[in-house]
Subunit: 579 residues, 2 copies
């Protein structure tokens, strides 16, 4: 059982049959055709030779097929992770150098080891700290940076930088070197790709093709554009006209190997690897869960970490660079009917074959074609509506989005995401350190108690019931003290204070000391302190404390019983005094 | 009014009279006598010449008298901040160098500016993030480090380091160089100081002295020990016997000046200055509030920040080093009857006079006397009982204390406190990311609903009421989804799910999207989703959302109304179906 949970293949492998095989093979063919241009393009985005993108689309897919739990997730190079790779590795090595290539491999290895360890230690919850607004803002900003970074490729000029200001300056400075032949190739590729995406399907079905055939042709479209521009390049000898081509690439598949790992490089790449791992995981798990929900399947997040970890280790061994589950390709894989992770393994075989066949011809492919592919792919990532939606719902969420977005655009991906996570955590901490509190009274005709400011309620003279809407912990312990004394000072003649604890989910040691201080000072002033609606887990902890043993008032199951109890004890006191 | 809040002196100054003057003068004399040996000793601890301690006890006291709000707080050099200063400055300059002295001045200046800005921007709440367990653990560990750092001074050997391992190794390596004359001076000073603290008062009152006179003599004790060992040093020519003396110091008071501030140094010292500021502020405000409570006075935390900020800027101008409000001296000031902050200004005059008189004689003072003064002073800081109390109350609090304590001892003060704060925040975030939740039912005979596992309650078939004990935010949004579907899957025949939101103090955008996802999937499964006991502030936010407008069920004021409402709607449905 335990073995099976770490090797999901042992589970679905036993149920494998002819029908799932056919579905998986069909999906694999379609995804292979889609992945080829994307893999080439994203490698270029990562600052690597295009063939590395193909290498990164072979072994990782096999590894995921063994360890992954999603039947539809298609792993491989993706846009955002490629940009993050370029940013991280660009700091430690010069693009195009041997050091650069080996640093990307170390980055993949580190990321793989981290993801695997996080999976084994069940640390998947860490990903929850990337809130939805932060991720949305980050992806949109990354998409903009990526699109801008490809402008150079489309214009035939060289640009530098991984954040918007540098890129824009770099484009502006080189605007005089624009190569019009490159612009022509880029423009044709862009227009064709856009037309293929928006209109080709309708056009084909109008010519009588079935929807399924039309969809397949549309998906093969980008590959056709690659072949078309290759032909253009060869026929018109674009190289002699200054158009930047991919150039000679080593034939065949790389030898399996691990790079020499230097401790120094590991230290420099550790933090970027961690950020890439978490961002990649969040992107991947969101896609996997969305698709799983459609088929009522279940994804195991911690096992997904292991699956992605294995994929990245495999990427390192196979000469690739960091990979994760991609949104567009997974949807295609799903739509094409992929029934098990085996579809990924078949895709890997397809890509391996394509690598062997394609590499001799890649030399003549204009880089502008790949730039156009990237621009088309990432424009779907850009979505500013999150800003509007966040603004409408909560200014705090808006702040998190805006800071993530502007931080990413202006300061780069790593700083941007760190700022976003930091901001959302700080907002949460700040809010919980200055909690909302309400004085409550009884809703007439019920045993329910609500805020006196919002509801028409009845209160008992001399009895102050305060509901604190937050767990009591170190950051708001002092706040609680101030609050109680302000309220007692503002309401003369108070004899009983009830803390209604229905929203208090925990009381830590600092808060316990504040409660003791409150109890002490109230006792000095002749005021009794009561508690009501204390939750089970909180009560368990308080049970053996000095505070509870010496409490001047009572502890009541409900606020209503507290009211009744306080009134009854007053009557008893009066009777005693009278007697 | 506004001016008065920034210059509390304008307030209490108007009420100043002969009586308060007498009280303040009395207190000033006693605190001056107490401060002299402490100031000398703490400067030594900070790696500075002893007279710097005196300089740091003049202008800062005047500044606090103008800007501070506590009538009893006595600012000046304190043990923990001195250790932190030595740690921070020891990294950027060699002890005894001119650079070292100017770095401490820059540190005081930075700390002063930071505290003032925090006060002006009302950021006093930041101090709340130093929880009580963390501060207790930190102070105890600091006390141990300080005491160990003085062992060298008591044995006449040179030691190095600001964390326990280095110090112990350093003592061990130099144990052969022990100077027995120094040991004798140190031992006599220690025994005398201990005897003065523990027994002198009883002894004096037994000889017929009044309690007040006895108390004053006890407080002057440490100064007497200073004079005694000075005499010993001069009479026996201890210098020739290898006893380390304070040595020649510049006479008079330093010129008022600000150091040349280098940007590089500012960058290196900024973070330590921030930590020193916050730790100093927390120490100071705790003392001030404790003493204010005894006299039913009020402390304004944000104005206290300005007061301490002004003190540290004054320390920088007057050639001192970072200062804050000290516990022992403030208590003495309070007991001696200090009525207004003017007592501090008078103390400053006393110390200035002492500086002029004392400096010529300081040369012959054995450093071992100052080491003994420090050891005695810091042993009161060491209190391991916090470990036991935290363990008994909560393992999470214990973890925070233990990590702070061991981090401080082994890795130094800055790392220790950072680890402590980081641990307590992480524990809080982790806990709130995996919240407690309960299925609730009606407590018979009441309208109160509690956990089915803890109370004998009644539930309605087909209706699942879940109370989530946490605000819903990004870190637990996914958790909530899983929880609801697990529960629905585990309980067959569910037609209505009620989320009881009495403990939900906020719903952020990520959580809203999770709620939408839950609503969607429940609707698909033919299950209605209801909300109950949604708080006002949460409802305000939800009011205009898509989620609430499309909610399949109702929103009920109380859980009891939700139960009644669901039952009523079922009857209505049945009637409709029947009709």
């Amino acid at each position: 059982m335990r073995l099976k949970s770490y090797f999901p293949i042992l589970d679905w492998g036993r149920r494998y049959n002819r029908q799932t095989l056919t579905s998986d093979l069909m999906a694999a063919v379609i995804v292979t055709i889609m992945l080829i241009p994307q893999s080439l393009a994203y490698a270029l985005l990562a600052g690597l030779p295009p063939e590395v993108g193909l290498y990164a689309s072979v072994l990782p897919l096999v590894a995921y097929a063994i360890f992954g739990t999603s039947s539809a997730l298609a792993v491989g190079p993706v846009a955002v992770v490629s940009l993050m790779t370029a940013t991280a590795v660009g700091r430690v090595a010069a693009e195009g150098s041997v050091d650069y290539a080996s640093a990307t491999i170390i980055l993949a290895l580190l990321s793989g080891v981290m993801l695997t360890l996080m999976g084994l230690f069940r640390l998947g919850f860490v990903a929850n700290f990337l809130s939805h607004p932060v991720i949305s803002g980050f992806i949109t900003a990354s998409g903009l940076i990526i699109a801008t970074s490809q402008v150079g490729g489309l214009l035939g000029i060289k640009t530098e930088g991984h954040a918007l200001p540098e890129l824009l300056v770099s484009i502006y400075e080189n605007v005089g070197n624009i190569n019009l032949h490159t612009v022509a190739v880029g423009a044709v590729a862009l227009v064709l790709l856009l037309w293929i995406r928006l209109d080709l399907k309708n056009w084909l079905t109008r010519f009588g093709l079935s929807k399924a055939v039309a969809t397949t042709i549309v998906r093969a479209g980008p590959v056709l554009v690659v072949f078309l521009t290759m032909g253009w390049s060869a026929g018109m000898d674009l190289a002699s006209k200054g158009v930047s081509l991919v150039g000679d690439v080593p034939q065949g598949l790389p030898m399996l190997a691990l790079p020499n790992v230097s401790l120094d490089l590991v230290q420099q790449l550790a933090l970027p690897a961690l950020i890439i791992s978490i961002v990649g995981f969040v992107e991947s798990i969101s896609v996997a869960q969305t698709l799983a929900a459609k088929r009522r399947e279940r994804i195991t997040p911690n096992q997904e970490l292991i699956g992605l970890g294995a994929s990245n280790i495999a990427a390192a061994i196979g000469g690739g660079y960091p990979v994760t589950g991609g949104f567009a390709r997974s949807v295609v894989n799903f739509d094409a009917g992929a029934a098990t992770p085996a579809a990924g393994a078949f895709t890997a075989i397809g890509i391996a074959g394509a690598t062997l066949l394609l590499t001799p011809f890649l030399a003549i492919l204009p880089k502008a074609t790949l730039a156009a592919t990237i621009v088309l792919a990432v424009l779907t990532l850009v979505d500013f509506s999150i800003l509007k939606r966040a603004w409408a719902y909560s200014k705090a969420d808006f702040a998190a989005v805006a800071i993530t977005m502007s931080g990413t655009l202006l300061l780069g991906v790593e700083t941007g995401i760190a700022l976003g996570v930091g901001t959302s955590i700080l907002i949460f901490l700040y809010r919980s350190s200055t909690p909302h509190a309400a004085i409550v009274g009884q809703v007439p005709g019920t045993e329910h108690y609500r805020n006196v400011k919002r509801h028409k309620v009845e209160t008992v003279p001399g009895m102050l019931s305060i509901r604190i809407d937050e767990s009591l912990y170190f950051a708001n312990a002092r706040y609680l003290e101030d609050l109680v004394f302000e309220q007692v000072a503002a309401n003369a003649g108070i004899t009983d204070v009830v803390l209604m604890c229905s929203a208090v989910n925990a009381i830590d040691m600092s808060a316990l000391e504040s409660l003791e201080a409150i109890e002490h000072r109230l006792k000095d002033a002749g005021v009794r302190l009561h508690l009501s609606e204390v939750k089970g887990p909180v009560m368990d902890r308080l049970a053996h404390t000095h505070f509870l043993k010496n409490l001047s008032g009572g502890v009541y199951l409900s606020q209503h019983q507290a009211t009744t109890g306080v009134l009854a004890s007053r009557v008893a006191n009066t009777t005693q005094t009278a007697a």
